[in-house]
Point group: C2
C-alpha cells in the first residue's frame, strides 16, 4: 500500500491504528473509504461486493473483522435492524433508524430528541450505558402512499 493513499484516504484511521499498535492495511483503508462513500447503510456482503474491484480476492471474514474493528474504533456503527444481516453505518453522529416493513428500506432519522431521558433512566437504575440504538418500524412514506391509493 502506498504512503500517499494512506494520507489522502484514511488519516484518522491511520492515527487510530498507530495509537493501538495495529497495522495499516489496504483492506482497512479501502473498506473505510467504501463505507464512507455510501449514503445508505451496508451489509458486510455489500461492502465485499463494492470493494472487490479495488481489492480483488478480499474475503468475507476480513470484511467482518474490519467492520467490527471500525465499530470498536468509533468509526462506524453496527445496526441490528432485524432484517437478516447486520448493517454497518459510516455515520457516527447521533441519529436513529426507520425500517419499512413493506419495502425493507432503511431510513435515517436525524437528531437526538428524547432519547437522552431514556438513557438517563437507565443510568438511574445503575446501568452504565455506552450506546443506544432505536429502530422504528412501520411503513415508509412511499409504501404508505401506495397502500392508500
Amino acid at each position: 500500500m502506498s504512503a500517499d493513499t494512506a494520507q489522502i484516504e484514511g488519516l484518522d484511521l491511520v492515527e487510530l491504528l498507530r495509537a493501538r499498535g495495529q497495522r495499516v492495511t489496504s483492506q482497512r483503508l479501502v473498506i473505510l473509504r467504501e463505507l464512507r462513500r455510501r449514503r445508505l447503510h451496508a451489509t458486510a456482503e455489500e461492502i465485499l461486493e463494492a470493494v472487490r474491484h479495488d481489492l480483488p480476492g478480499t474475503s468475507i471474514p476480513t470484511v467482518y473483522a474490519t467492520l467490527e474493528l471500525f465499530v470498536e474504533l468509533g468509526l462506524a456503527r453496527k445496526i441490528d435492524a432485524g432484517i437478516g444481516a447486520a448493517l454497518y453505518d459510516g455515520r457516527t453522529d447521533p441519529h436513529q433508524h426507520m425500517v419499512c416493513r413493506e419495502c425493507g428500506r432503511i431510513f435515517d432519522l436525524d437528531g437526538e430528541y428524547g432519547l437522552g431521558s431514556l438513557v438517563e433512566a437507565a443510568e438511574r437504575s445503575g446501568f452504565v450505558a455506552d450506546g443506544a440504538e432505536l429502530v422504528i418500524r412501520g411503513r415508509c412514506a412511499d409504501c404508505a402512499r401506495a397502500r392508500v391509493s
Copy 2:
C-alpha cells in the same frame, strides 16, 4: 386439547384465533402460557426446552411459527438484542431494554420517557410508525461494580 384448558389459560388467544379463522392448538396455548409465566425474555430454544415437559415432541419450527404468530397478534414482542438469537417478550406494555456487554443479561427499562418525540419526528417525515424498539448497551449495575472494585 380439552375445552377447559382453553378457557382457563388462553382466553384472548382463543378469541383472536377464532376471529382470524385459525385453529386453537395445544402448542399455541402451552407456548403462550410459558411465555407469560417467565419474567425474563426467552429465545425460541428456551421456550422449546420449557415446553417439552407439557408437550413432548414439540419441534423448533413450531415454536418459531407460534411465537411469530403471537407477535402478529400483539401478544408478544420480538426483541433483537444483538445477542445471537431473537428474544420473545410476553410483556406488551411500553418498555425498553438494556443489554449488558459483559454478562449478556437483558433488563427491562419501564416507561415511555422521550421515545414519543422520536416517533413523532419519524411520522413528520411521512413514515407511518407502528413499533419502536430501543436497545441500550453498556454495563449492568453488577458488572460495573465488579469492574471498579
